[in-house]
């Protein structure tokens, strides 16, 4: 009852502040601050930047967790981070890197770049875009609260039951995972829908589907995957929450529940998820290869086809994570074949990239270095994937460091390299400044060499029998030396990342505005001004083919041909409701974790109230005059 009272008082207090009934001048002043501007922004570029910066932050957090683990594994029998602490580190490392680093970094790039690439002024649902970001933000925050209050999740990023049930994971740890991911996941689904509708409906004149840049294409397929892959996770988390919080029996085998059910639900989400994070990476690489080869992407249509096929097959292979469960030889064989089939479209892509470079006018700025480093790295990861896809062999590899090596080759070699490449490539459009190439080279080489030193030896750790997710190993069985090399490599990656951070800080501090088209780019984002005005294009451009901007430049034009007369532009207004909605769910989620039903219910009710606020919000945006129009008017 006491908590209830306190909550009501706080609720009234905030309501008073937000409605302006408490102190209107305070509200007026708050509305003028930069913080308010970002908090309520529905501008896709600003949301993209927020996603990106949050992603970088969690990338560093996840990286620190990894370094702690590597420190523990430096020598056999080390006692720096043992038992529960180690389990928390490995769980939060995986969860953070996938959900709170890779995903927001990807969403950041999609948000900033994709609307520019298709010649749009904003996304289809600017409000949902903001809501998606804030849900992610507060979901991630909630998941990480466990570090301070009651213990972080510690049942692995896969949270297998029975381990994740109350009996074996007492305390709130796994609850943070369940509720935090649920909130962040809701945001992800919304963004998927938003990106998909944007790409389908908001393309400028002449931008037919088969003229879209490859990054936009992969964003489209990734969005489809998100829409169909997130719901299984939603259900899995819902059921686990019911089991842990409300005494249900989905997974408790004593009461008839099934542990395999969790594995199915999780991997029906989980495998498509790895393609959700790797397809946009393919897109980034495709754009970069063709820009720095000064050639049209080789096999554009086959690239589109391969991407779609990978997206489709990605849903047919989840059982390869469950070969050792004992589903039987028929099912294992079918899923093994389906898994190996994915290598075909992936191979098509790799050859297309090589042929794009073939005979091209190559230059090697840092972005291109990442792209070139990506090819052999990713191919190694694909090869170990095929090895794992053979069930009899997988019985040996399963749960060993070999698997760890495999997925880091594809996830870092694929997704992370691509995101870093994308960062160097699109930095001028995101922030209006350039990153230093000199520091970038240091970053690339340290990280690249460090990566291979860290993970190549882990294949052998696995083959020599070291299980994954165990905090120590025996001396004198031939594992010390390899582990030390691995830890040394991780330190190099850490130093590389510090240099990257320094590079970012330098660019923020520099006053020099980047050129509008620093790489002699091919797609529409390079046809905008730098910094990009908030309405993106004063006049929407007309597109005449693949590599729209390049075609115009070849034809001797400095700019795109406009598709509309100069005029007033309609833009959506900002809103603070997404932020409030996300806070409401954050509070509600935390209430449930603390087993305080009053706060849980109140959070949900508050969320309902914010939904009404949104429904009755009749703001239809506003009109602006672009600079060009103002200039023209001033002249006449």
């Amino acid at each position: 009852m006491g908590t209830l009272l306190i909550m009501i008082v706080f609720g009234l207090f905030f309501a008073a502040i937000f409605t302006g009934g408490y102190n209107n001048t305070l509200i007026q002043r708050a509305r003028k601050t930069t913080a308010w501007d970002w908090l309520t922004s529905v501008d896709h570029k600003k949301i993209g930047v927020m996603y990106f910066m949050a992603g970088i932050f969690y990338f560093v957090v996840g990286g620190l967790e990894a370094l702690f683990m590597r420190y523990q594994l430096l020598v056999p029998g080390n006692d720096a981070f043992v038992g529960r602490t180690f389990n928390e580190l490995l769980t939060m490392h995986g969860t953070t890197m996938i959900f709170f680093a890779a995903m927001p970094l990807i969403f950041g790039l999609i948000n900033v770049v994709m609307p520019l690439q298709i010649g749009a002024r904003d996304v289809a649902f600017p409000f949902l875009n903001s809501l998606g970001f804030w849900l992610f933000f507060f979901g991630a925050l909630l998941t990480n609260m466990g570090w301070i209050f009651g213990g972080a999740p510690d049942a692995g990023w896969t949270s297998y039951v029975q381990l994740a049930l109350n009996e074996y994971s007492p305390g709130p740890g796994v609850d943070y995972y369940v509720l935090g991911l649920q909130i962040a996941g809701a945001g992800t689904t919304m963004s998927g829908i938003n990106f998909l509708v944007t790409i389908l409906n908001m393309r400028t004149k002449g931008m037919s589907l088969l003229r879209m840049p490859m990054f936009t294409w992969t964003s489209l397929i990734t969005s489809v995957l998100i829409i169909f892959a997130m719901p299984p996770l939603t259900i899995a988390l819902l059921l686990l929450m019911m089991d842990r919080l409300f005494g249900a029996n989905f997974f408790d085998h004593v009461m008839g529940g099934s542990a395999v059910l969790w594995e199915h639900l999780f991997w029906i989400f989980g495998h498509p998820e790895v393609y959700i994070v790797v397809l946009p990476a393919f897109g980034i690489m495709s754009d970069i290869f063709s820009t720095f080869s000064k050639k049209k992407l080789f096999g554009y249509n086959s690239m589109v086809f391969a991407t779609s096929l990978i997206g489709f097959l990605g849903f047919m292979v989840w059982v390869h994570h469950m070969f050792t469960v004992g589903l039987g030889p028929v099912s294992n064989s079918i899923f093994a074949i389906a898994t190996m089939l994915i290598a075909i479209p992936t191979g098509i892509k790799v050859f297309n990239w090589l042929f794009t470079m073939w005979g091209g006018e190559l230059t090697f700025p840092v972005a291109m270095k990442w792209a070139i480093g990506f090819i052999p790295t990713f191919v190694i990861g694909g090869m170990t994937g095929i090895m794992l896809a053979a069930p009899p062999a997988d019985f040996q590899y399963q749960d060993s460091y070999f698997v760890v090596a495999h997925f880091h080759y594809v996830l870092i070699g694929g997704t992370v390299f691509a995101l870093l490449a994308g960062a160097y490539y699109w930095w001028p459009k995101m922030f209006g400044k350039m990153l230093s190439e000199r520091l970038g080279n240091w970053h690339f080489w340290l990280f690249f060499i460090g990566f291979h030193l860290t993970f190549f030896p882990q294949h052998f750790l696995g083959l020599f029998g070291m299980p994954r997710r165990v905090f120590t190993y025996e001396p004198n069985v031939g594992l010390e030396y390899i582990n030390q090399v691995s830890t040394f490599g991780a330190i190099l990656m850490g130093i590389g990342t510090i240099i990257f951070a320094w590079n970012m800080i330098q660019s923020f501090r520099s006053k020099k505005i980047a050129a509008a088209d620093p790489w002699d780019g091919r797609s529409l984002e390079w046809a905008t001004e730098t910094p990009v005005p908030f309405y993106n294009f004063a006049q929407l451009p007309e597109v005449r083919g693949v590599d729209a901007f390049w075609l115009e430049k070849q034809a001797g034009n400095k700019q795109m041909t406009p598709a509309e007369p100069l005029g007033k532009i309609h833009m959506p207004s900002g809103s603070h409701i997404p932020f409030l909605m996300s806070i409401a769910l954050f509070v509600g989620g935390w209430g449930l974790i603390a087993r305080s039903w009053q706060i849980g219910v109140m959070g949900l009710l508050a969320f309902g109230v914010t939904m009404f606020m949104r429904s009755f919000d009749r703001d239809h945006g506003f009109y602006v005059k672009p600079k060009e129009l103002l200039d023209k008017e001033a002249k006449s």
């Binding site: 002024r121 289809a124 649902f125 689904t189 998927g192 829908i193 938003n194 998909l196 509708v197 389908l200 409906n201 908001m202 829409i227 169909f228 997130m230 719901p231 299984p232 939603t234 259900i235 899995a236 819902l238 059921l239 019911m242 089991d243 409300f246 005494g247 249900a248 029996n249 989905f250 408790d252 009461m255 008839g256 529940g257 099934s258 059910l261 199915h264 639900l265 029906i268 532009i569 309609h570 009404f612 429904s615 009755f616 009749r618 239809h620 009109y623």
Partner: protein, 204 residues
């Protein structure tokens, strides 16, 4: 991004007359795609666990065909009335639309009452959310559907109020349209629940 005021005529598709409307309708279809997968997972869970009754009553002992048939008829009929509402909306007949939406909401409410009565009855028979894996998966599936019905009722009532106050225009029409899509969707889900939970359960 054409933002010219749209001239409103009866018989036109007001819901997709503006750019925002088009986006909204398409986005909602995608959302229903996600919802389909969501329910598919719940169906899968139920089918996997439905025989794990652990000493409790089984579906064949519990389910009452008459009650469920009535509930099904009510919900199917409410889909029809929401179609009438949309037809009235296209004719810009505000009164008719509000009437049919009102009928839809009332039918939805009576469905909910029947469902609550049914659940209370089951709980007396010892079939609860916590009694077994069968119980958990049954209430998760049917309960999630019931939650959707509840949400639909609140949602449609809210939009009825807005349409009553603001009229049928390019702002309210897309909302009315997608909420009726939503209503059809939960109706279709119920058809599957009727066959896969109740009919299959009664067969044993």
């Amino acid at each position: 991004m054409a933002h010219h005021p749209v001239e409103i005529k009866p018989g036109m598709h007001l819901e997709t007359a503006t750019f925002e409307g088009k986006n909204k309708v398409m986005g909602f279809w995608m959302f229903l795609g996600a919802e389909t997968v969501l329910f598919a997972c719940l169906f899968g869970t139920y089918l996997a666990l439905r025989n794990q009754t652990v000493n409790g009553p089984s579906g064949a002992e519990l389910f009452d065909p008459v009650l469920v048939a009535v509930a099904t008829a009510i919900l199917l009929f409410s889909s029809l009335t929401s179609v009438f509402a949309m037809m009235a909306m296209n004719k810009l007949d505000k009164k008719g639309m509000l009437f049919w939406l009102g009928v839809t909401v009332l039918l939805g409410l009576s469905f909910l009452v029947l469902e609550i009565y049914e659940f209370v009855h089951y709980i007396h028979e010892g079939h609860t959310f916590m009694s077994s894996a069968f119980g958990s998966s049954f209430y998760a599936l049917v309960g999630t559907h019931g939650a959707h019905v509840t949400f639909g009722i609140i949602w449609i009532s809210t939009i009825m109020y807005q349409a009553w106050k603001w009229g049928i225009n390019t702002e309210t029409a897309p909302k009315l349209f997608v909420s009726s899509l939503y209503w059809h969707f939960i109706d279709v889900v119920w058809v599957f629940i009727f066959t896969l939970v109740y009919l299959l359960g009664m067969v044993g």
